[in-house]
Point group: C2
Chain length 297, copies 2
């Protein structure tokens, strides 16, 4: 694996006392830089873009806001502006200073809509000239993304680990509780595609194709469920949830059901799968099996 | 940057439907593999080892348990066994199936001490022959680490970002509240060295050189403080806390003080630093400034 140093100076590394460099040729064009891009800006942009791009599998316009390489809000709407504002509003507090990626052409109206929002970078595959002018004035950095294949990886013990990054087959199998109709399954699909980009252990709750509570980066699934439901509050009622891996015990599922969540999709593979499925059946929770685990660290 | 493919087959990538490879020469020897090492095992091992190694800056034996590339427990004791058991007990639930790194020679007594604990990998710079035999029987994988320079980095948009990973100067400046004595400052130092390895936004609470509550992977600092204090419960009383970056508002600090935390160290740099410092003074919280931010994603 030979990677040439790419000619892009980063403001600094993960922290200001650390340096960082880019190797290889990144699939983006910097349409406006303003303040120099940082190491974290680019990684946040990638985290947001991959989810927005994956959401092309569903109908509608998708927007994703990222903070610290994990989404804090994502939404699909039939209107571009609604999609952007809904993704930001999903967690207004965390969106402040975040990075926005959309899977549609970012136009003048979009730029006007975020005029009063503080976002560090906007990421899309296409921008209109008017949008570029407006964003540049606001000092928002603009990244235009070309086609590429996402990877995962990290340095470890002086070497590099590099892995594939892909969604498993998006086929959900009914395992317990009431069956969902096509529209409801679409909600579950949305939750699962977004949770693929949330740091593990991850539990994501969504409603109206918008995230309402994201439990991220936890060492236990129960704890991720606790955070997601606490953040969702009343919005968890009749909502949809996705887990990035199996429930090792029924406890996480019970937290979701108690908060009022209606349907859950999760990969299987726990030695207690049967116990977990029985718990879902007993609680009247619609429970679906995903074809694979989607950890992201 | 030329990295040759290293001859080590990984069980699979971040998830079982994904492949992964190692490039370059990792600074570890696999003393016992048993079940093939996975991509996640190695990254968890690195996450644990770097913290344990950094803790050599303090006196005593240090142990760190990692789950999902973030510590769930860390402890320094004057006795090896106490150090290991204390790190595991710091979050017994999350330690299950975790990875243990220690910064001392792992001997027979250490191996006996974890006989009934389920740990996937044990990481150290040195193991006695007896310890290797005992761990091998238990099917624990054993990684022996040689000297190397840790890095951070990730693939992004088809390229690779690579950065330095280092602690800032470990000089804490008193900014508010009662001053701490040498022993207390050592507690704060412990919290800060461990929080360097916790995923951002991170707040870590410790007591008796052992973590009691870790708020990790959050998009807001207030939320990280909330999680850390909820997990610490009563143990937050008279405890020490470290934040991996500045408090943008006094709210996170207020959550810590309300839970009974005695002293906090945090990098500065918020436009509201003065407001945050005044809040600490008002609450009688010992507040110290660290020389730099220690985000890890």
């Amino acid at each position: 694996m030979y990677l040439e140093k790419f000619d892009l100076d980063l403001r600094y590394g993960e922290n200001s006392h650390e340096k960082a460099e880019v190797f290889g040729k990144p699939a983006f064009g910097i349409l406006h830089e303003g303040k120099q891009l940082s190491y974290n800006n680019i990684l946040d942009a990638e985290a947001a873009y991959v989810i927005a791009n994956n959401l092309k599998k569903l109908k509608g316009y998708a927007s994703v806001v990222v903070k610290h390489q994990t989404p804090c809000g994502a939404s699909i709407k039939n209107d571009k502006i609604e999609s952007i504002l809904s993704a930001i509003a999903a967690d207004e507090e965390s969106s402040f200073g975040g990075i926005l990626a959309v899977n549609f052409e970012f136009d003048e109206e979009c730029a006007m809509a975020i005029k009063k929002k503080y976002l560090e970078v906007v990421v899309a595959e296409s921008f209109t000239q008017k949008a570029i002018e407006l964003l540049s004035k606001k000092k928002v950095r603009i990244l235009k993304i070309n086609d590429y294949e996402p990877k995962v990886g990290k340095p470890a013990f002086g070497a590099f680990l590099v892995g594939e990054r892909k969604l498993p087959d998006l086929k959900f199998t009914h395992v317990a509780g009431p069956q969902l109709d096509v529209e409801e399954l679409n909600e579950l699909l949305f939750a699962f595609i977004v949770v693929e980009g949330v740091k593990s252990n991850a539990i994501l709750i969504s409603k109206d194709l918008t995230t309402v509570g994201i439990g991220t980066g936890q060492p236990s699934r129960k704890r991720a469920a606790w955070i997601a439901t606490e953040l969702a509050g009343e919005k968890a009622k009749n909502a949809y949830a996705a887990s990035d891996a199996f429930f090792p015990f029924p406890d996480g599922l019970e937290i979701l059901a108690k908060a009022g969540v209606k349907a859950v999709v999760s990969p299987m593979g726990s030695i207690r799968d049967e116990e977990v499925i029985n718990a879902a059946e007993k609680m009247g929770l619609s429970f679906y099996k995903a074809e694979g685990r989607v950890f992201r660290h």
